[in-house]
């Protein structure tokens, strides 16, 4: 039996969906002009920028959305399966700052930080996918979206959770992925990336978000709706009310997406949070935020759709007990809820800061969560009697063959980040931050980059240099020195 956690009963899910369908028709959903014709052609009334989507149409389009799909790694092997109760984790996305491992102070993230981050995430099996984790502050803002993806494609073979912050940059990101995949058709057949697309709460699909939905659907590249109701501020204060809004935003997004290209893959996802009534902050580590995530994804599962949520992030500003308590708890909850993709690891300070050290600590919490959902299995015909038959009351289980055969299946062995008495240095127990720093250094030292085929690598570099030149960027920070001539050399 696999352990499972659900927060909503069927009647409540039905009520949530009932109200969500009601909301998308009245008051309706604000949409951008670029989808007016698309919606009107399906019989949706659009007036003053507000679309009133009939329930019957939305239900029909939800039924057209795939129940599951795969993301592929660089070699074309399926590596992440969205759908059912499969659970995967990836680091949080698009962070501006990084926590300095020595001073514990946040500072702007640079390309070199993202490179190091990707190398560490690549070595951690707990992360099935990478993310475009940081905004590189040494790269012009107008090319930042695709530049993040370039670095991830360069240093990683895993699938990628990414996103574009404008309608224009999406196409550059898709071009990069197509070069790497060997063309647009290859990208459609074996997508390596899923794109986060965010509605603006409440019930608003902005110009670039609307356009992203349409363009991704037509490109056949998976879209992941990241609805972000803030309970009490941009959404109803009750958790149930915010789940209704989340559902309405997802359903309206799926409607636009499936109208653009029926059957194109899309994920019921989000980053809901409560709104702290003392500070106006959005605590990602609050238990109610995790409850929102779980409830929202349960509604998506009820509709049979692939799911995503934002968990494993803490709110403290340094790596401490609070941050890790919050991150560890929500990793467990997300896994128990069977969420297909759980983003957020590595992040702290209300998603404003990333930490590579936190990423390796979170990986341990994730490993524990992954062990938990394996559950308790019989493993042998006799649970205990046969072993007792061999040892009698001596209890000498360490000598048994069964012990030697089965202990690796039963027990998860954490890395040196977790103190089980192995990490002492000169008789002194290292604290968690010291152990995490050491682990990061070890992982980076053991990282080895696997190049793309030379012609594809050359094409990728040529494309990136051409695009970078439009913003006056010299060289490719994190990949090529400015004085690059013929052969790439790492910087």
């Amino acid at each position: 039996m696999r352990p499972k956690l659900e927060l909503l009963d069927k009647p409540l899910i039905e009520r949530i969906l009932g109200e969500a369908f009601q909301l998308i028709e009245d008051p309706g959903v604000r949409v951008a002009p670029c989808v007016f014709d698309l919606l009107r052609s399906a019989g949706v009334t659009v007036k003053d920028g507000v679309a009133r989507i009939p329930e019957a149409l939305a239900r029909r389009l939800i039924d057209l959305a795939p129940r599951g799909f795969c993301l592929y790694d660089r070699s074309g092997r399926p590596a992440v399966r969205y759908g059912g109760d499969d659970v995967h984790f990836d680091p949080g996305s698009s962070c501006l700052n990084i926590l300095d491992p020595h001073t514990q102070q946040a500072r702007p993230a640079m390309s070199a930080d993202l490179v190091r981050f990707v190398q560490v995430a690549e070595k951690l099996p707990q992360f099935a996918a990478q993310s475009t984790a940081m905004v590189c502050n040494d790269v012009p803002q107008e090319i930042g979206d695709w530049y993040r993806l370039l670095l991830v494609l360069w240093y990683s073979e895993k699938p990628v959770v990414t996103g574009a912050f404008s309608a224009e940059s999406l196409h550059t990101l898709l071009d990069l992925l197509a070069i790497e995949a060997g063309g647009r058709e290859a990208l459609r057949d074996h997508p390596r990336a899923v794109f986060d697309v965010c509605p603006s709460p409440p019930l608003n699909w902005s110009e670039f978000a609307s356009q992203n939905l349409v363009d991704l659907a037509r490109a056949g590249v998976p879209a992941e709706i990241v609805s972000m109701p803030l309970a009490g501020a941009t959404a109803p204060v009750t958790l149930a009310g915010s789940v209704v809004q989340h559902a309405a935003e997802c359903i309206s997004g799926i409607t636009i997406h499936q109208l653009a290209q029926p059957g194109s893959p899309i994920v019921w996802g989000g980053a809901p949070a409560i709104f702290d009534m003392r500070t106006g902050k959005t605590p990602m580590g609050a238990i109610e935020t995790a409850m929102l995530d779980l409830a929202c994804t349960q509604v998506g599962k009820y509709l049979g759709l692939p799911t995503h949520a934002y968990l494993v992030a803490g709110d403290g500003r340094v790596i401490d007990a609070q941050v890790e308590m919050e991150s560890g708890m929500s990793a467990m909850l997300g896994a128990l809820a069977g969420i297909n993709m759980i983003s957020g690891a590595g992040m702290l300070d209300f998603l404003a800061c990333h930490s590579i050290e936190k990423l390796v600590i979170d990986a341990e919490a994730i490993a524990s969560a992954q062990r938990l959902i394996e559950g308790i299995q019989p493993r042998s015909d006799s649970l205990a009697v046969a072993m007792f038959a061999q040892t009698g009351l001596h209890g000498d289980f360490l000598k048994l063959k069964e012990t030697r055969v089965l202990f690796r299946k039963e027990q998860h062995f954490p890395s040196s980040v977790i103190d089980r008495g192995l990490s002492d240095v000169d008789g002194r127990a290292l604290d968690i931050l010291e152990r995490a720093r050491q682990r990061v250094d070890d992982l980076v030292a053991s990282y080895e980059r696997h190049p793309l085929p030379p012609e594809r690598e050359r094409e990728l570099i040529n494309f990136a240099e051409r695009e970078a030149a439009t913003s006056g960027l010299e060289g490719l920070p994190g990949i090529l020195a400015p004085a690059y001539t013929k052969e790439p050399h790492l910087i």
């Binding site: 698009s94 501006l96 946040a106 912050f165 009534m277 003392r278 106006g280 998603l351 404003a352």
Partner: protein
């Protein structure tokens, strides 16, 4: 007017009771109480109490929004009376507020605007997705004392810098103070982009605006003094 009437005004703000606040203001006008007395002895102390209780964690943002609404309702009654009498409530300063280019989130900005208004500032809210040029143009038009720039996203936060640059380009920087805020914003970021201050929440934004006005007054005094000496 008896003290208990002022005390009831103060309490109407603390309770966030707009109808009571409005009706007490109406009673004050009817009974010939000077509107400035009602404001300074009744309603403003109420807002101060709210601010203090908020800082102590005893009041919350929805309470504060209700208090600000009660203050607005009282002022809706008292402002016309002030005008009729040819008097004016001392204005704390002129603030141009907005959410930065590319960002359509405004909850934090609305809170800041509401509280600044309740504390005597004249606020012009430019809304969301506002370019640096628009901030500068409005600041010039209104002869603003302060420009407040909000950003909720890490990606749009960088556009706060373009507001600083636009004000510099327009030659307004010596006259207009800039304060920044929003979920991803930090004091360090404010310093890095050359803003004059950072507020972590709406109540701190009021304190910051008051402090910036003090700084501005000192600068003006210093300039005047310097002019007199040079003369």
């Amino acid at each position: 007017m008896p003290d208990d009437h002022f005390s009831a005004m103060r309490q109407s703000i603390i309770d966030g009771a707009p109808d009571t606040a409005s009706s007490l203001a109406q009673q004050a006008v009817t009974s010939g109480v000077a509107p400035l007395d009602a404001i300074n002895n009744g309603y403003v102390p109420g807002m101060h109490d709210v601010g203090e209780q908020f800082a102590r964690g005893q009041m919350f943002l929805p309470d504060m929004m209700a208090s600000a609404e009660a203050m607005r309702c009282a002022m809706a009654v008292l402002d016309p009376e002030l005008k009729r009498l040819g008097t004016e409530r001392p204005m704390a300063g002129v603030v141009v507020l907005g959410t930065t280019k590319g960002d359509i989130h405004e909850i934090g900005k609305i809170l800041v605007g509401t509280l600044l208004t309740a504390h005597g500032f004249r606020v012009h809210d430019l809304g969301v997705d506002v370019s640096g040029e628009k901030f500068a143009a409005k600041a010039r038009e209104l002869e603003a004392d302060i420009v407040g720039v909000s950003a909720l996203l890490t990606t749009t936060m960088r556009n706060q810098k373009t507001v600083v640059e636009a004000l510099e380009k327009d030659g307004l920087r010596t006259r207009v103070k800039i304060m920044v805020g929003g979920a991803p914003v930090t004091r360090r970021w404010a310093e890095e982009i050359g803003a004059d201050g950072y507020a972590k929440d709406a109540m701190s934004a009021v304190a910051l605006a008051q402090e910036l006005m003090q700084q501005k007054l000192h600068t003006i005094c210093d300039q005047n003094l310097s002019c007199s000496i040079n003369r």
